[in-house]
């Protein structure tokens, strides 16, 4: 294992995060606080509780997931796309590193950043509502699994993208709608039966449900299903990345 290489990639990527601290950390916090104020205060005043939890508290896991998913995907996508764009990817491709080492470095850094943002939003939420956490260890575990698996998705996206437009396409057109429709701001039991069934095809439902379970002990889908969904998703991403490096798709000529 080329630990020095993992360290180098990880630190290099983290340095980029801290160099663009406002963009990286402050802006997601501000936008989440805005969501919180608008949804929590405006809608929360009309919906008292959902499944026995105050609406303000109920949306916190969904809000954290919304930002964490976007951040995991965009950070990892940008992290690998940028060297491709400026051409410095030649260094990584000619270095004595394996796919696993490259992925741990880039995906690890993107996941760390998303995790940090998730925890900052979590802390911010405490300013607005009382937040009980029934399963704190699981909460962290869900967060970590989510950041890593979606950072892998972002990594694939960054390799696939040929321009900045494509780079933004998936987070904007896929991730955001899936999160909004995945029960961030409502319980899927509130939907008509047909939509409940359709919703179950949305992978994000499983993430948010499991994550919310770790807070309040109630879930839309069984926790085991949530874990299985994340594991399946992470496995597929890893397989795709392995195939990409094996064939050199969009990386090597």
């Amino acid at each position: 294992m080329n630990l020095q290489a993992i360290r180098a990639i990880y630190l290099f990527e983290m340095a980029r995060t801290f160099r663009t601290i406002w963009q990286s950390i402050v802006s997601p916090v501000i936008s989440t606080s805005l969501y919180f104020i608008v949804f929590g205060a405006a809608i929360g005043s009309r919906i008292e509780t959902v499944e026995g939890v105050s609406y303000g508290a109920f949306i916190v896991p969904g809000l954290i997931m919304l930002t964490v998913l976007q951040q995991s995907v965009t950070n990892a996508a940008f992290g690998i796309y940028f060297p491709k764009f400026v051409g410095t990817i030649y260094e990584v491709l000619s270095a004595p590193v394996t796919v696993i080492e490259i992925v741990i470095g880039y995906v690890g850094a993107a996941a760390t950043k998303a995790l940090m943002i998730g925890l900052i939003i979590f802390a911010t939420a405490h300013l607005f509502v009382d937040l009980p956490i029934v399963h704190p260890v699981w909460m962290i575990a869900f967060l970590v699994m989510t950041t890593f698996s979606f950072a892998m998705l972002g990594f694939i996206l960054g390799i696939w993208a040929k321009n900045f437009e494509q780079l933004n396409l998936v987070p904007m057109l896929v991730i955001t709608p899936l999160v909004f429709l995945g029960g961030s701001f409502y319980s899927i039991t509130m939907l008509p039966p047909v939509w409940q069934t359709i919703t179950l095809f949305n992978p994000v439902v499983y993430l948010i449900s499991g994550f919310r379970w770790s807070f309040f002990g109630t879930a839309d889908v069984p926790v085991a299903a949530s874990l299985a969904a994340i594991a399946l998703f992470a496995g597929l991403c890893l397989l795709a990345i392995w195939a990409i490096f094996r064939t050199g798709w969009r990386l090597r000529s």
């Binding site: 020095q4 940028f82 260094e91 000619s94 004595p96």
Partner: protein, 309 residues
Amino acid sequence: MSSIVSVQGLTKVFPGGLKALKGVDLEIEEGEVLALLGPNGAGKTTLISIICGLTTMSGGRVTVGGHEITRDFRAARELIGLVPQELHVEGFEKVINTVRFTRGLFGKKPDDALIEQILMDLALWDKRNEKIIELSGGMKRRVMIAKALAHEPRVLFLDEPTAGVDVELRQSMWQVMRGLKDRGVTIILTTHYIEEAEAMADRVGVINHGELLLVEETGPLMTRMGRKTLTVDLSAPIDAVPGPLAARGVELGNGGTSLVYTYDTAAEQTGITDLLSDIREAGLHLADLHTRQSSLEDIFVDLVNGSTR
């Protein structure tokens, strides 16, 4: 000396059918400077890219330091430093950080003393905390060289290191290359500048249309090919070279208005005195005469043209 880089029967066919390399065999000896000459699209960069792992090979076998480059890629690549042709830099990074990054990427522990030395050698130490985007083009190229040296490679590939670089910087790059050679680093450089190959290389390889036309030591190649031509312009054109002159190998040039005599500068007798007296005896009148030394460039052009025929 032993081969540090061994290329055997290397082929590359790009999707679409372009045959970029057609069975290249090349042994590069440890510690030598090899210049690869060839026109654009000859296959120089493809060859380097395959050895460095940027391009996959279609067939053949390459070893670096005895390590096969795909099966044993880790050991092979640790020995290699690459400075690509294009300027690829992370503009927003500080110089020193990108150099440190490369060292780590190649699996080496941080060594600030070494990085300082490299940056000093390349006259970048004063710029170490500047963002790369703020540097001039020549400086950026030096940053790329610093990065390539950060992990102490034993083989350094320089793909057109002095393209678009001013004379002063070119001289300083040559200085850096000589320093590396003195430390035993094997250097493979591609270049369009014949003078660079003449000045730097122990051996010269000429590549065209994906084939290696020759690999020879620079000195003997220059001597063998380093011929001089004497051109004698005549005041009136003639139809044929007079007998005694033809016997000396004189050819008619420029539509019959000049005589061209090729001779070896290293030979004991150049035959110029006899030639001139023969010209006078043949009753020809001279308008002018001039000599020209053939250079590596001529050799190169001859070879390349020969291979296209």
